[in-house]
Structures are given as C-alpha cells and as structure tokens.
Amino acid sequence: MSNEIALGAGAGLSTELASEHHEHHEHHQSFITKYIFSTDHKMISKQFLITGIIWAFLGGLMSVLFRLQLGYPDSHFYWLQDVLGKFWVEDGRITPQAYYALVTIHGTVMVFFVLTAGLSGTFANFLIPLQIGARDMASPFMNMLSYWFFLAAGLVMLSSLFVETGPFSGGWVAYAPLSALRDASPGSKSGMDLWLISIILFVVSSLLGGLNYIATILNMRTKGMSMTRLPLTIWALFFTAVIGVLSFPVLFSGFILLIFDRNFGTSFYLSDIFINGVGALPNEGGTAILYQHLFWFLGHPEVYIVLLPAMGMASEIMSVNARKPIFGYMAMIGSLFAICILSFLVWAHHMFVSGLNPFVGSVFVLLTLLIAVPSAIKVFNWLTTLWRGNIRFTPGMLFTIGFVSLFISGGLTGIWLGDSALDIHLHDTYFVIAHFHLVMGVASMFGMFAGIYHWFPKMYGRYMNNTLAYIHFWITLAGAYLIFWPMHYEGLAGMPRRYYDYSSWESFKQFAELNRFISTVVIITFATQLLFIFNFFYSIFKGRKVTTKNPWGANTLEWTTPINPGHGNWEGEIPEVHRWAYDYNKDGREFIPQTEPVGADESQH
C-alpha cells in the first residue's frame, strides 16, 4: 500500500501544475476511463452513490421480507416461494433460517454499505475537493481503489446470498460463538466465510478512502481556506474519516482472531461449548466477551461514522436554506470533536448485560451520558439556526429538518439505554431497534436524502423533480415515525428482538395487530423509496436543466465551478477564499460567496 502512497509524491502541493495537466486530458477519455476506472473524485462519488442506492434497495427489500413474517405470521405467500425458492420461503412462509439471514444481512448492508460507503463515500468524495478548493483528492488512484474494494466487498456479500447453506445469520454484530463455529448454524458455514471476506475488503476500502480524505483536507485547501473557514460538511467528513481510520483496524484485529478461531483450532473467543449433534468442543480458555469488546470498539464509533456526515450536511443545507449563518459555528466544530473523542470511550454500553464488570459498566454509563452534551449543543444550534430564518422549503431543507426531528426523537431514548440499570430491562428489545433506527438509521438516511436533493444539481447539472420529492419526504417522515414509534411500546413491554414468531407468547399476543400495522407501513414506505429511485435516475437524464452556476444562492466553493465541472473542477485558477462559508443576510446582502474579499466597511461576523 505504501507504494501507492509514495507514487504520487510531490503532487500534493503543486495544485497549479495539476490543473494544466487535467484540462488537456478532458477530451480524449474513453468510456472506460471516464465511467469505470475513473480517477475523478466526482465520478467516484457517483459510483459510490449509485452502488449505495442499489444496496439500499436490496437492504430495504430484505426488511420488507422479514417484516412480512413479523406482521403476517399466519399468512402464506406462495408467490414469494416461486420467486425466491425453497431456502428462503417454504410453504408460503419465510423460513426461520432465512429470517435470521435477512435480519443479519439487512443490518450489515445498511450499516456498512449504505450508510458508511454510500453516505460518507459519496459525499466525502464529492464535497471535499469541491468545497475546500482542490482539483481532486490527494491520491486519485487510491480513491479509485477505495471504490473498487467497496464494490468487491459488495459482490462478495451478494454472492453469500446464493450459497447452499445460506448467508450468515447470527446478527450483524457476528458475535462468537455463532460466528466462530461452523457447526453453530447453517449460516455459520461458508456464508460466514464470505461475510468475513466482504467486511475485510470493506475495511481496506474505508482505510484507503479515509486516509485520502484526511490528507486532502489537511494539505490541499486553497489559499485562504483556513480550517475555521471550512464548511461544516468538511469538518464532519474529516472527523468521520478520523474515526474510521482509528476504529476499523480494531474490528480488523477482532476478525483476525475470529478467522483463527474458525479455521485453525484456536480458542480466543471460545470456551466450554457443547453443540447438539457434535458434542463437547475441545476449545478452552477464551472468552466471547472479548469479541464483543473488540467488535463494539469499532461498532460504536461506526454509528458516528454513519451519523457525522449527515450532521455536517444538515448544518450546511440548513444554513443555506434558512438564509442565515449557522448558529454557533465554533460550537458545532467543538461538539463534532467531542463526539469524535467520546465515540471511542463508550463502546461497552452495548454490553451491559453480557457479563461485563458492573463497575466498569458504571464508568461507561458516565461516559455515555456525556455524549448527550455535544449532541444537545448541535440540536440547539440547528434549532436556533432555523429560528427567525427566511426558510426556503426545498426538498433538501425538508429532509434536513426531518433529520433534526428524528435525531431528537431517537437521541432522547439513547439516554435511557445508556443507563446500565434501565438497560437490564430494555436490552435486546424492540426499544433498542426503535432507538437506533430513528437516531442513526433513518436520521442518517434523511441526511443522505437531503444531501442528494441539495447537491444533485452540482452532480448532474439537472434538478430532481420537486413534486415527487415532496411526496417522498412526507410519506417517508410519517412512515419512519409510524414504523418505529410503536416499537418503543413493544420494547417497554419486554418484547425481545430477533425472534422469528411471537405468537406463542401470551404476553406478546396483544401486539399482533400492531405488528401487522408496522409491516403495512413498511411496505408503503418502501414503495415510496422506489419513487425516489425513479426520480433519481429519471432526473439524471431528463431532469430540468440547471441554468445558473449557483442555483441555491450558496456561499461555498462548489457553486463557483462550471455547471458541469470537468476533471480538475475549475477552469483556470482555483478561487481564493476570503471569508467563512456562512455570510448569509449580512449587511443587507442575501449571501456573500466565500470568494469575495472582505470589504472595508463590512461588519465583523
């Protein structure tokens, strides 16, 4: 790897040189170099985005399938059997094995492929060079590799759906011993091998990308673009990359040990195990809690990898569309930094009932609850940014406001779950599902939608259809709350997650109707996402064309590029930056782009 790093040496600082180089290349690009093995950060970001959308579709479809089982446990869907085959559907019902496989792959795909690669992969690639004023990433080649490793990871994961024993089915956290023993379940056989390969490829991809993002943001900002003039998107993407670079390797180490446990007879995570039909295993001396520690040392920062880009984009889009400076810019950076640090200190709050030492647990409670402080700072800053703003309700802005709403609703329940005493009751119930889907799943999804609607004109030089976007927004927002809000009540009543069928429990029979309601809303909401996908692809080719460089009246640098920027982004010189990104409604002017020098009689911001 160090070779690639070293190969491009020297190109980092001489952006002027690079510009001439790129402009002359524009004309003789073949299809393959332009669309497939592209080193242009904009094309790579589109590759990440479209791959992410495909994965989001598949991941969403999986959730529809397992919600069918949960909502309609007595119904038979014979047509599904014809489509999916016997492994997945038997006698018109999703098989238990398939149910667990669907839950597992839904989680893995959504967290890693959609909300990590699809979100920060897309927007880090697209926005970093454009917003800091660079021709491209520090190492475009590594950037390309990052995408190809991601694609390979996705293909391996996809192939695991088609192996005879089925994909991995032990939950996206892949706890040992289900993940460590081939005989533990059908999905623990070759499905788990493919799952591991896929995630390791993904770690490589994320590392290649992350190093690139960090080096680019630090080294390649244009003249005048000091760190405190960066748009908050860039700050958020910067911290996201830092978290990724420091936490993914720990997962990688955990997986190395897991691979040895699976294949080479070690017992890092195994001790005293008896399997029906196999007998007592010789493995002695390991502890499964070690795996959980290693997993969550990544797993918790991972939720911030998912969430921070959404936070950054929300800040930017909100300020642009409220026509107001973002409230508390430095506080926003400070809280991002605090979240970044704290995300590494709280992992064991996922393990309160695992056998974790209660005293150690109590320290984790304290550290966990500290996260509420920066999160609250961010929420109040967003609300005060909206306060008395001259709000334009573009689709991007609506999704941003939706993001804030979901972040608040989902975040508050985090305070409950972060408390180790309450967690004894709530752990592994639907309450947890409701919490993390609202706060990180749907909220980040909303951030992603906001980003797509807002930057689509820059990506493709066309607008997305507004009517479809409004329908998409309202149904998705209502759907998100209608799906996940009732789950809080189910969870408080003690209904556990990851069960195939609740009808045999007297206590949970009362929720049969509610489950059916949730599943119905899931189907409607999923159908609405197809509307978005249609809108996205239709608008790429047929959308209304953008006619001005700066359609939103925004201050940031990406809107100073041509409507369809070529490789190298700016024709001629890269603009110099003279002010921060949030001079909206200042001195009687609606917006003042960052490139405009500070006037003599201008008031201080």
Binding site: M1, S2, N3, I5, A6, G8, A9, G10, A11, G12, L13, G133, A138, S139, M142, L207, L211, N212, I214, A215, T216, L218, N219, M220, R221, T222, K223, G224, M225, S226, M227, T228, R229, V245, L246, S247, F248, P249, V250, F252, S253, G254, I256, L257, F260, F264, G265, T266, S267, F268, N283, E284, G285, G286, T287, L290, H293, L294, F297, V577
Partner: protein
C-alpha cells in the same frame, strides 16, 4: 517541503500549503501507521485481556530458552539476537533516509542493502524459532507448555504467540518487499530523476514502525 526555514509567525493552517510542512504521501503514511498501531494495539490488548482472564500462564523464560546449535537452557538469548538485528536494521534504514536527503545514491543503496539483509535475517530467526516450537509440539490450538505453577495451561498462550508474532512477521516481510522495491528504484535512478528521495522516507517510516511494534511484541511475549 520548500519552507524548511519557516519562522514562528508562519500561518500553517491558513490554506494553500501543508499545515505540517510535509507532502501528502507522508501524512498518509503517518496516519496509516496510526491505524496500524490500533491493529496491533487491539491484538496486544486482546492478548492482555485473555491473560488477565486466565488463571495461570507459562513462564516465557522456560518456553523460549533455546538457541540454534547450543540447545536449550538459554532463556532470552535468541530473542535478544532477533531484537538487535531489528534495531540495527532500523539504524541502517535511518542512514539510508539521511543519505537520500543528501541525494547520496551510493549511501542509499548500501544502507538499503544492509536493511534488507537485517530484515531477512530477522525473518530467518523467526522461521527457526517457529520450527523449533512446532517440533516441541506447539502450534495454533496446541500448547505443550505448562503454567509457571505447574498446572495445565490454555492453548491461548500459543494461539496468541503465533498469531501476533506471525502478524508482525508478515509486516516485516512486506517491509522487506517494499525495501527491495526501493532498492531497485534507487538503482534505476528513479529518485535521481525525480529530484528527491521522499519515497525512501516513507518506506523508512514503515520499517521503523515494524521495529517499534517488535519492541512491544518482544516485551509482551518474552519478558513479562
């Protein structure tokens, strides 16, 4: 790299230049090594955690006490040799980097050759040690050694030993490969044509990191 005579008033963060006064490749190498630090850190911390969770542990002085040609009964002797080999190869790597900074091709080539020899010597030592332990009955999932207090030991002693030293050995191996590539490029005058030997510095960082990791692996497995 053009502002080595920077004064204290330089505004490092104002954009248009590197806040660290280094080119991006070196930044990436540093942060890659940070990332790798967490990989090794996690492995060693897992080892520590398992050791804390286990009743007894073999005494390394009784396990690693052989020297080729001398037989057993020499605790720490062989691993001391390995340690010094790696430290010396690190020294020659620094000298290669310094020669590169002075555009001294001959110095780069000679010191790189010494570094590669050191790396290969270390790998050979490790191969001998692994083979020796294997013949004593140790391997992944097999632990012939007993705890210091004479009781049955868990296989995690050998499991962690082979996994972590193996992972380190893999890093040494890739470091040797990188150094061989650097040597070939130096001999082909690639760096002379480029006008700088910055790549040697990055390879050097990686090589020192391998040495650094050995400091921790050596202490954690052989000493404490």
């Amino acid at each position: 790299m053009s502002t080595t005579t920077a004064t204290a008033t330089t505004k490092w963060w104002s954009g248009g230049k590197s806040p660290f006064n280094v080119e991006y490749g070196k930044i990436m190498m540093w942060y890659f090594l940070m990332s790798d630090t967490f990989t090794f850190g996690a492995l060693l911390i897992s080892y520590g955690t398992t050791r804390f969770a286990t009743q007894g542990w073999p005494d390394p002085n009784h396990v690693f006490n052989s020297f080729p040609g001398l037989g057993s009964g020499y605790p720490l002797l062989f691993v001391s040799l390995m340690t010094f080999i790696l430290i010396l190869s690190s020294v020659t790597m620094v000298l290669a980097v310094q020669a590169g900074q002075n555009m001294n091709k001959k110095g780069v080539v000679i010191n790189l050759i010494f570094t590669i020899i050191g790396g290969l010597a270390f790998l050979s030592c490790q191969a001998w040690e692994w083979t020796h332990l294997f013949h004593e009955g140790a391997w992944w999932g097999r632990n012939p050694f007993i705890n210091a207090d004479g009781t049955q030991s868990t296989t995690n002693f050998t499991n962690f030993f082979f996994t972590i030293t193996g992972f380190h050995g893999f890093h040494v191996f890739s470091g040797v490969v990188i150094n061989v590539i650097m040597l070939i490029m130096a001999l082909n005058n690639t760096f002379e044509k480029k006008g700088h030997y910055l790549m040697i510095e990055k390879a050097g960082l990686y090589w020192h990191f391998v040495d650094l990791v050995w400091v921790f692996v050596f202490t954690c497995f052989y000493l404490v």
